[in-house]
Amino acid sequence: MSATTTTNPPEQSPQRAAFELKGSLFTLTIFYLQSSDLAVITQHLRDKIAQAPGFFCHAPVVIDLNDLHDPVDFTALVALLRQYQLIPVGIRHGSEAQSTAALAAGLPLLPKQRAVKRPDTAPEPQAPEKPLRKYTRTRVYSKPVRSGQQLYAPDGDLIIIGTVSGGAEVLAAGHVHVYGSLRGRALAGVHGDNHARIFCSSLEAELVSVAGNYRILEKPSDIAKLHQPVQIYLESERLMIRPLT
């Protein structure tokens, strides 16, 4: 190889910048870490994946350290989570030592939540200023929901007049109604409402979930219900699938 090589400048289009920066808001899954023991975490992840393979399929998560004061090996933790198809994007509520270690492992620090509340602790009693059940808007969608689309009703019910294709996902804080075939995933009560239900004209879904209790439909007893109008609801933590007629 000769000592003098000529290199051509890379091709450029002069009128276009290479990138743009914009702020945006996202809803992310929070991973409340309660143990720094990787073996314990692994076991737990395994159980979850066994219940629903692919459920967390490359979901970005934020590691919350509010409940954990031990030091954490973040490099190992990141590798572990990625192995189980969770992608950590940052941490929050870490102690000073935890935050330093996280930064060193390449995990950014996300801002603290104002009132730190665990999801399963009872809500603090509040003065009943507003009526208990406030009016929420139902989202009505009257086109097919195609593969790769996600439809979300963040504070009410979701009504879809059309089919939900395989590979599509519909989510609601309240009920999900599908007046068509449900072939993709449907998640009702995504903020934890146990009374939320899923209704559909023909059940062919990949996954259904009410308040985080999910089920993939592959068992023979589930498949017997396929192609039928059904409702899906929780009965003492068990997900029930019942014909509508």
Binding site: V145, R146, S147, G148, Q149, S165, G167
Partner: protein, 268 residues
């Protein structure tokens, strides 16, 4: 008023370019001034199938960059006087197709042509997006198998949400199914999805069913759109499809394999 028609699929290798060439030639045969644009920058193919690869001097990217004007880049088909080809560049990448640049070219073509056919690249990225963005009609090209149908469904979602008509809240893009490489024998054996299965999943109107046919490969090797081969069943299916697009009623042939059987018997 000119219409812009995208031929798209999501999945690769399903027959978009074959369909673009024959559909464009079919419209030109019906005396419409037609241009077919190759959006597959970097993997240009359309010029081969149209048999004009030796006449490409300037291309779509040159026009967008102002290095050539449309008259220099448009290639007149040697068989059909109403048909023009705007070839893709083989040496650039898809990012060279800017929204503004493509818009200017399409608006200019609309003044000169009745139909503008856009042969989309595979995938759901920039190249496929820009090809469908300006469309009035979409020919969703699908093979009778699960992965192709899933990808077509995905593309339909993008057309419904990210095309210019969707973004401007105009009347939606007209979506039409073109089921290609339909092998009725394999469908009857259950190896491939039947037409009804595909229609149920995609839920859009059927424009045509194109049978699997050896004549397609022969036609593309010769650089002649298969619709111009009068002895080809695929060619006949494309001719029916053009007629239906123009509002004529044509029964769907090629759905059962009795015909294949006869053809094999008599070597047609």
């Amino acid at each position: 008023m000119a219409r812009v028609i995208v031929v798209t699929s999501g999945k690769g290798g399903v027959g978009k370019t074959t369909t673009s060439a024959s559909f464009a030639a079919g419209l030109a045969l019906r005396d419409f001034k037609t241009v077919v644009i190759d959006f597959d920058v970097g993997l240009r193919n359309l010029d081969l199938i149209m048999g004009c690869e030796r006449r490409v001097v300037y291309d779509f990217v040159n026009v967008i960059n102002g290095e050539a004007n449309l008259n220099q880049a448009l290639i007149k088909d040697k068989r059909l006087s109403n048909l023009y080809i705007l070839p893709a560049s083989q040496t650039r990448d898809k990012e060279a197709l800017t929204h503004e640049g493509v818009e200017i070219v399409i608006e200019e073509l609309k003044k000169r042509f009745d139909y503008i056919i856009c042969d989309s690249p595979a995938g759901i990225e920039h190249g496929a997006h820009i090809a469908m963005y300006f469309a009035d009609d979409a020919l969703v090209t699908t093979n009778p198998e699960v992965s192709s149908v899933r990808d077509s469904d995905r593309i339909l979602g993008l057309i419904a949400s990210r095309s210019r008509r969707a973004i401007n809240n105009e009347e939606p893009v007209q979506e039409l199914l073109v089921l290609t490489r339909y092998d009725s024998e394999r469908v009857e054996r259950g190896d491939m999805l039947a037409l009804d299965d595909v229609l149920e999943i995609l839920g859009i109107p059927l424009l045509g069913v194109i049978p699997e046919s050896q004549t397609v490969l022969l036609a593309s090797n010769e650089g002649v759109p298969v619709i111009l081969n009068e002895r080809s069943d695929a060619g006949h299916a494309y001719a029916d499809m053009v007629a239906r697009y123009l509002g004529e009623e044509r029964p769907h042939r090629f759905l059962t394999h009795r015909k294949n059987f006869l053809r094999r018997m008599f070597g047609g």
